[in-house]
Amino acid sequence: MTAELVQVTAFTVLMAAVATLVMLPPGVAVAWLLARREFPGRTILETVVSLPLVVPPVATGLILLKLFGRRGPLGAVLEPLGIDIVFTWRAVVVAMAVMGIPLLVRAARAGFEQADRRYEAIAATLGARPWRVFWTVSLPLARRGVLAGTVLGFSRAIGEFGATIMLAGALPGARTLSVAIYRNAELGRDAAAMTLIAAAVTIGFAAVYLSNRLGTAS
């Protein structure tokens, strides 16, 4: 049981960390776009990114399964490259990233919106091209929002269940905390489930506490 606790917790944290790294570049890019640019389809993008928050996670998981399955549009592209997603650890990462990205985008966007555009304009007059302005001014000024969003996205990834079970199943050795808790409860192993719940609560507490600290400190 202890072996399971350690293995499942380590696997969950590792997968959530990888998922966070995967969601950061597109999440921060979308957050910046929504905060700083007017373009056609802006509201559509805004809505699509938030969709995983309101659609049942199981439904999101099924959509991902159709997309990444061998006959799905993304699966068909990845399969010849030898990359299997569905029912592997990669599926866990994909499910976690998709479910976490709305929270990342929201917080990061707020961070960019709070940063005064005047600094970016002045950086440009000092000779900085847009890419340099982003890295040296926009991102540092939005860092609190981006960090808070990163922690939130990570926390959401840790707790992810519905999309994960659809896309990754409950393979032994590739079970997240939520999936393992569900399996143990289903099999009547309540003590094992409770131990895993304690781990989940601890990680969740630490993440939310950190996120709140980042949000309130100035």
């Binding site: 005047r118 007059t125 000092l126 000779g127 860092r143």
Partner: protein, 252 residues
Amino acid sequence: MSVVRGGVEAAVVIDIRLRAGAFALDLRESIAARTVALFGPSGSGKTTTLDAVAGLRRPDAGVIRVGRHVLFDARRGVDVPPYDRKVGYVPQDLALFPHLDVRGNVLYGARRRAAERVPAASTVGNGGAGPGTHAAHASALEILEIDTLLSRRVDGLSGGERQRVALARALMTDPDLLLLDEPLAALDLGLRDRILPYLERVRDEIGTPMIYVSHAADEVRRMADHVLVLEAGRAVRSGAPADVLAQYAGGG
């Protein structure tokens, strides 16, 4: 309209139309002067004009030229992005980067080679930026007495220090033109008298052409050799400060 570069003066051409809601800016000026003041009440279009010259606001029509450099020409489709304009801008709120220290601010736009030669804080001694530094960089840091501030945090600076750091940051890019938006407005009277000599030294010793926005007549008289009086987006008077400002009281 002809421009002498490397001679005595570089002409600045600001010939622009710009609408923003109910406000309309309409300037048709070609000025051969080193230090031009934009003078007028708030809302007359002074800051909008600076923003247009810096490339932060796009005019609807017209031409902006600094010396031989055409920065904007609506008819020919020229709109040089701000990072290629070589126009230094010190906005009224200064916009010092809050996440960088003084060194980070001052060196933000400096050429890399020059930046490497700026002394480390620990080796700063008797002023001056050290031998070998590009002349304009060295004199900007020296004239504005920045070297003792280099390792300070921006939010710990006094009003006058902030002003000097913002000026130095703009000058370190070796701009062809320097835009100053009410550089003394936020300072109390005593501090004004301390900062004005810095501005005069920048004008006289570095010699960067300037557009100087102010609503204080005495300041304009002291700093500028040409003044443009703006009212509601139009230039109502243009000429030497002594002639143009005769009707305005000295204070600000």
